[in-house]
Symmetry: C2
Subunit: 295 residues, 2 copies
């Protein structure tokens, strides 16, 4: 005979306590703790909202449809987490950096694991579309000393806002992706194309929600980086174009002040020739600072 009577039956006033008490036999302490917080916050939200039965059912159907649109290449729940700022919050919590280290931002869904390692200076834009861009900078430790042998994995959307994996058969394979390794001076440089803002997938439940909330689905133009070096915490981040029309309203809240780069337009043909590009081009200089692994 199971007796949980010490907690009494469900009442509006005690609702969360009654539900939480049921989990007292959970073997996994972490799961128990997580479900206690979720239950309490969920009940607080319901009590504050006081949904009608119809509103409750609309929420049930939204959650159901958000799950049902997911497939091997589409993850609508990650999108929901993104547009509610939850993905960025989880990223922030897991990447608290010591003062001076570069800040992280979300990985996003378009990273591929097997991009080719390229000689420094390569042009990752394989189809020559768009406005040329020269990207360069240094990988440093928090004492501003260069990190040699750092691995830099970069990827970006093209001049129309699409990644290669979204346009298979249209863009060349591994277009606008590359892996580079720094020399003794910690420098990196490569050529690409000025990226453009693009919408997150907005034809599903999350897109409809954004629309109903008066929000647009765009992410401002950015370049993705994963920077790794032996003995340092890996850094997953972006750099952003501060002149992008959506720089202050990224649909997924990925922008941080410290990740704004300068996309400097260079008209000088000689400067362009020096880096193997035709003028005009965009010069983007950005240094990354890695934090040393603890312990």
């Amino acid at each position: 005979m199971i007796d949980e009577h010490e907690y009494g039956y469900f009442t509006e006033a005690d609702s969360a306590d009654v539900v939480v008490a049921r989990n007292r036999n959970a073997k996994d302490e972490r799961l128990k703790q997580v479900m206690e917080v979720i239950t309490r916050k969920l009940h607080e939200a319901v009590k504050e909202i006081e949904p009608t039965q119809e509103e409750w059912f609309a929420a049930i159907m939204f959650l159901t449809q958000t799950g049902q649109i997911c497939n091997d290449w589409r993850q609508e729940y990650i999108l929901l987490s993104d547009v509610l700022g939850v993905s960025m919050l989880v990223d922030a919590i897991n990447n608290r950096k010591p003062s001076g280290a570069s800040e992280s931002t979300v990985l996003g869904p378009f990273h591929v694991a097997d991009a080719p390692e390229l000689p420094m200076g390569s042009n990752i834009c394989l189809d020559q579309k768009g406005e040329p861009m020269f990207v360069h900078g240094r990988i440093l430790d928090t004492e501003s000393k260069p990190i040699a042998g750092a691995k830099i994995d970069v990827w970006q959307a093209n001049d129309e806002g699409f990644y290669d994996v979204q346009q298979q058969g249209i863009q060349p394979e591994f277009n606008l992706r590359g892996v580079f390794r720094t020399d003794a001076d910690g420098r990196y440089w490569f050529r690409g194309v000025k990226p453009k803002y693009y919408p997150i997938p907005d034809d599903g439940p999350v897109g409809k929600l954004l629309g109903a909330l008066g929000r647009h689905p765009y992410r401002p133009a950015h370049l993705h980086y994963i920077v790794e070096a032996e003995g340092f915490d890996p850094l997953t981040t972006h750099i952003f174009d501060p002149d992008d029309p959506y720089i202050n309203s990224d649909a997924v809240f990925g922008v941080k002040e410290s990740l704004l780069a300068e996309f400097r337009k260079v008209e000088d043909a000689e400067a362009a020739a020096k880096v193997g590009i035709e003028a005009p081009f965009y010069d983007v200089e950005f240094d990354f600072v890695l934090s040393r692994k603890k312990g």
Copy 2:
């Protein structure tokens, strides 16, 4: 040019404010309010839990799978709402009753709209399986005056814990369902079978979660009622068997103290014959009190 710079970029400290500020152009004030509460409580929960990236992804996958197992006859998100006490909380909020009126509980997934209207006293158990039960009582207003012409829609699981709709081809159609109407004295009576506890569907993500939390999936034995009468608030509720082994641990928190009935075993053959049943049988007497519609 969209400028939301007044709220600044996303930071861990300001996370919910930054997200909520984005909804300021929402046309639907209610949606805006609901999403503000949800966003704030969600961020509070994440900050309290501090999930790892792996835990966050496990949550994403749980939500996805909960949506994907839903189909025309299975609603796993309602089940999740049920086992977290949210369904009962929404029911409580929407059915606050004046003192003296009968309390409501969840509708559940097994009500059918077109059950037959039967003469008072009918036996709703069409296959004669299980221990006979005689159910009777009165429909009253809050001044204890009988309500004539009240419609009573009842349904129940059989002696093995299954509803007819779960056992099509095994149980007769409309087995253990009926609609009755009270006479001038507000009385109702019908014959059925002693119900048994049964599990909610536990082979999906919600069942796995219950298991991980050390919780069983059972609902204690009960009879469902919807009582309606002109000029009164409709009442959707259950009555429960207080001797059921799960009476203090209903998986969906539906039990309320005021909804415990007495299932009195009667051995007397004469008493049984009087109500058209063979002894032994269970006598269940329960009155319902409806609240008068406001306005």
